[in-house]
Symmetry: C2
Subunit: 429 residues, 2 copies
């Protein structure tokens, strides 16, 4: 792992796969077909792409019971405990609706309402990600969303959704689960079919076809962010333990060849020791190929003179995950401006938050923590402004408002105000 000097270009931006023209065309065709033909198109594309002929594709209660039986009691209990932690954390994000009370009887306010329905996409593929189910479903549940639908492709080998995913969905409180994936599943969530009632928002990660389909239906429904490649930055001083720093960098690198792992430190000795340790630990990783490519392409160690300079580097990078491994990590919290999730101290390595502690693991990637937030309860609720003007407040301000409207050349706006004054006069009030 190379040790670099801090330069002007600290950018970690990696290009997000925008798909080929052919892929975009395919996705458009699939969506159009599902809009027109409903279930028939969903079934046809699932047979074509996943090699599975679906009949009734809604998951039954018996299949969920079966999934529980396939998991050990310990595994179920860990998923339940994680779910409980995630629920508790997100409960603290709940905002109340509010109204002002003003002496003249005027009320101004903000009403907060959950979305009616949400669809969560859970990718298939080789591994099952029950943590992704919990992290997407529970904020919606806590937000008060009544109908939370999950879609996920089945494993080709077994014809089933993995047991851990089904159990996590059940624990999190998913309303309905459908055994479909790909662009056809996204289209079904957005426009509805005979089987699936359409939803208001679609969240969750997926392959390029899923990402393109989400972009395509955006506006018809809401979507979460299109996640880019993942990254970790570690801010450390000479109190950090090199073996632990190296292990944490590698835990990010095993995700994806495009993942990015960065150490920023004011300790040259730590930098040297971590560089060696990364190579050593890498050698014994099951995901050696992925992790070594990631480290080679996007692994970086920056050495600065002072810890303040290190913090400035972190704020420029705006990492998705930030670990602070310094002698007094909490004291630096105020100076950190841009990071998706901040893991403070030796006993908070990233996997603590990925699975268990409670905060969401769906985080702004690729430097977008400058302006984006972790997935949270507010993403599943929306605000409505409330205006209730009293007669006296209205009368005192009517001419000012009409005058502002005319300043912008909007005469009908002014007349809407003045009609009230005229009617009053007519009524002799």
């Amino acid at each position: 792992m190379d040790i670099l000097k801090v330069t002007n270009d600290l950018s970690i931006k990696r290009s997000i796969d925008g798909g080929t023209e052919e892929q975009r065309q395919t996705v458009k065709e699939i969506i159009a077909a599902v809009r027109q033909e409903g279930d028939q198109a969903v079934i046809r594309y699932t047979q074509k792409f996943d090699g599975i002929l679906l009949d009734d594709y809604q998951v039954k209660a018996a299949e969920i019971d079966q999934a529980y039986k396939e998991l050990s009691k310990e595994t179920i209990s860990i998923i339940k405990e994680a779910a409980e932690n995630i629920r508790n954390y997100h409960m603290k994000q709940l905002q109340n609706s509010w109204m002002t009370t003003e002496v003249d009887g005027t009320l101004l306010g903000q009403k907060i309402t959950p979305l009616d329905s949400v669809g969560v996409y859970v990718p298939g593929g080789k591994a099952a990600y029950p943590s992704s189910v919990l992290m997407n479903v529970l904020p919606a549940k806590v937000a008060g969303v009544e109908r939370i639908v999950m879609v996920s492709p089945v494993e080709r080998k077994t014809g089933k959704i993995p047991a851990a995913v089904l159990v996590a969905a059940n624990i999190a409180g998913v309303t309905d689960i459908y055994k479909v994936g790909g662009a056809q599943a996204v289209a079904a969530l957005a426009y509805g079919t005979e089987t699936i009632t359409p939803v208001d928002k679609i969240t969750g990660p997926g392959n390029i076809y899923v990402a393109l389909a989400k972009r395509e239906v955006y506006g018809e429904v809401d979507i979460d962010m299109i996640a880019g490649p993942s990254e970790i930055a570690i801010l450390a001083d000479d109190s950090a333990i090199p073996t632990e720093v190296a292990a944490d960098l590698l835990s990010q690198a095993e995700h994806d060849e495009m993942a990015c792992s960065i150490l920023v430190t004011n300790s040259e000795q730590l930098a040297n020791e971590v560089a060696i340790e990364v190579e050593e630990q890498l050698a014994t990783l099951p995901k050696y190929d992925i992790a070594s490519q990631s480290i080679q392409q996007f692994g970086r160690i920056y050495v600065t003179e002072t810890i303040e300079e290190s913090i400035a580097v972190i704020n420029t990078i705006a990492p998705e995950h930030l670990e602070v491994l310094t002698v007094n990590p909490l004291s630096l919290l105020g100076a950190i401006r841009h990071a998706g999730a901040i893991f403070l101290g030796r006993y908070s390595p990233e996997p603590v938050g990925d699975y268990f502690a409670g905060p969401n693991h769906v985080l702004p990637t690729n430097g977008t923590a400058r302006f984006s937030s972790p997935l949270n309860v507010d993403d599943f609720r929306k605000k409505s402004s409330i205006i209730y003007y009293s007669e006296s407040r209205f009368t005192a301000n009517a001419e000012k408002i009409a005058s502002f409207a005319r300043l912008e050349g909007l005469e009908a706006h002014a007349r809407s105000i003045e009609k009230r004054l005229q009617s009053e006069r007519k009524e002799g009030k």
Copy 2:
């Protein structure tokens, strides 16, 4: 204005202009040129499209002083009072950062930080919209954004930004103002030039080139929503006054041929009277052409049996603006689920909120109030999760977390946890 029966299709969706292939190509070229050449490209495109040769295009203090002189004292005072009301309302949206305190020393939290910088686009054209300046700038200001930049094209005739726009920007607390518009202004905000330092988020309305440019730079920076055509729905019973209802419908219709005005009522008599009154008032409007086209294409009156049915219609439409003109409007607030802004009672016609009351007038259009919110302070701040696990919490949960990581096939994640246990053993703790 036609009186319609309630049917299954209450959709108010109007297509959003996605631009032609040629327009998209032009916008891509402009952005590429500004990225490469900076100010030189900004100046060249401004000369080409706006017919103005810029020299130094930052607005000077003297120009702002001059703008104040061009407005009447009354106008300045109305803009100031509106700004004060808007600021006060948005102050109530401020959320605090929080941390939990737990007996074992663990801290979990959510840190809320303003964006570093925001760019507000203010369209030129025939009319000046100082209200749009206030509504975009003040939430960012209240959020704590340090640098708020405004861009706006000059009037061809005068070579200036309209006085009311400059004064509103100054009152709202804009940091810097630049006399540029179009896709070149959006590109300059996103990527920066010699004159403009890049920003983290771009908000504000604009023509098709501005909208396409915002879509194009999205990801590099954040953007607000791409607004669709505007609409009002009025929920009324027989206590509503037909002349006022008609005036309010027309105040929406004068905005745009694509604007949509809908009355939903359980009173057939009101429906009939409003239909006649709309035609009468329409005849004398300065913007007759626009308003009559809007009413003809998108004006609707729905009559229902009961007020509950009327509310159900409203929730299906999810209007941008909702006026409630019933005998007891506040009692219906709980039943209204989807609306951008809710105007309650006779003394709260829409223009009260468009200009003056305090809530934002940038609202979710075209039915997107099902899942979107008015522009608000949260749009200019972002969250970071905080995780600080104590040693005892970590030790108690380490094996569970490692086990969850292995369930997902992520061995390096498990090792990042277990390294902490090993090091402790080595250190003999």
